[in-house]
Amino acid sequence: MFGDYSLGDLGSIFAMQGFAGLILFSVYVLMALGLAIIFGQMGVINMAHGEFMILGAYVTYFCSEFFSAYLPSLFPGYFFVAMALAFLASGSLGMLVEWALIKRLYKRPLDTLLATWGLSLILQQTYRSVFGPREVGVVLPDWLLGSLPVTDTIEVPINGVFVMCLTALITIAVGLLMYKARWGRQVRAVVQNRVMAGAVGIDTERVDRMTFGLGCGIAGVAGSAFTMIGSTGPTSGQLYIVDTFLIVVFGGAASLFGTIASAFSISQTQSTLEFFLSGSMAKVITLLTVVAILMLRPQGLFTLKVRR
């Protein structure tokens, strides 16, 4: 299939294809990060993760409407306000859900799956009743649109760069929080031995609530960022759930680094395959490969071999 193209063309295509893969990688990491915290660290299967993302997207939509109506001069910067609000909205909802629902289910991981699936149905219908069944269009500030020409043929989409930077930032922040800060140690202590953690003076309920809220808040930011590249509607969240879970599981649930590595390998596979095959087949083959590898190596890519 390359016969028709010049060498220069091919070079720039591979460059852009690599970049497309990087964008997909960032998107996957952003989607999976919140879940990696909730599922990987807390063991809760949050099937409503996509709905928390969409909440962030709706918050962004309202910010864009609000700023264009009342503060048009500040419109170029609204996206940052929107992301902060999205984090707060999804995070608070997450804490509420943890308090009302999840905290009763820590010993029954499979039941969290059913309960959060129910939650996702309720959220979807709520979005539909409140925001209407149609998709909403989020207007982006001009600086986020368009692309930076690198050479004549290579152009880099600005929103892609933005997503990549955002992902890097959030990943680093989460990494520091989980592995350097005192709070991260508390989270891990609670995960490993709830009773003991409580006995040494950690407020386990608070840690649980904050962790769940953090995971959901990151989902909200992801949803906010996704308004740049995807659609916002009541059922849009469902599109992400399978991919997200596979990324986290494939990476080895307990490891943030694993999640990133798995997002990288899956996104590169997918975007390379997409170039040679049809989109549908690329998706099927990617998913099948992931499932096949998980069957051979059920613990995922990165896990510590521990003494039981």
Binding site: L304, K305, V306, R307
Partner: protein, 252 residues
Amino acid sequence: MTTIGTPPKEYLLAVEGLTVSFDGFKAVNDLSFYVDENEIRVIIGPNGAGKTTVLDLICGKTKSSAGSIRFREKELTKMSESQIVLAGVGRKFQTPSIYDDLTVFENLEISYPRGRSVLGALTFKRDAAVRERVAEVAEAIFLKDRLHDNAAFLSHGQKQWLEIGMLLIQDPELLMLDEPVAGMSVSERIKTAELLNTIIKNRSVLVIEHDMKFVEDIAHKVTVLHQGKILSEGSMEKVKNDPKVVEVYLGH
């Protein structure tokens, strides 16, 4: 096979050069020991010495990194857990491992050595032989009156007995017990010792135990483990007087 020479005589269990590492940490390091027919061997050692890991390795729960475990000329390191059981190795866990949702009768029945394949289990009939054997064992483990209660309602000691009973019904040639009297009241402990004394007849037993009184009562030979290696081996008397042992273990 990675055998290191041939042992001088036919042992029931021959462990040679056994090593396992978890992320570089060698929990068991080049360990060799031999267990005779009808021998009662007690493994002692401080916490973290690798005692439970040795049992895990023998029964197949943990896969070894190197070395061999031969049981009646069968290489256990290459067999699955259930094959190892069928070869005649039985194992009791440290914390009582029984089925809470089944009755005592059903707990024992599951260990009855018949109908262990899928089809066998599907067509298994609870005939007179089964009932008799279960009743017999239940009598031995002091649970005759509790046969039809759910195991969840048993006390801690009774759960330990039930698990021992499950092994008894399985009738293994090599029985491995991990701290059989841990967490028991004094009266339970006495009954347990009595129980063990009856069941260790006509088979080899490998026991992990901390209770020195108990060890002295039953051990033919004692192996002391320290940091995954054998520190000392021999009769209780010999081990007790080994200065190395005194230093790391008995000393405090």
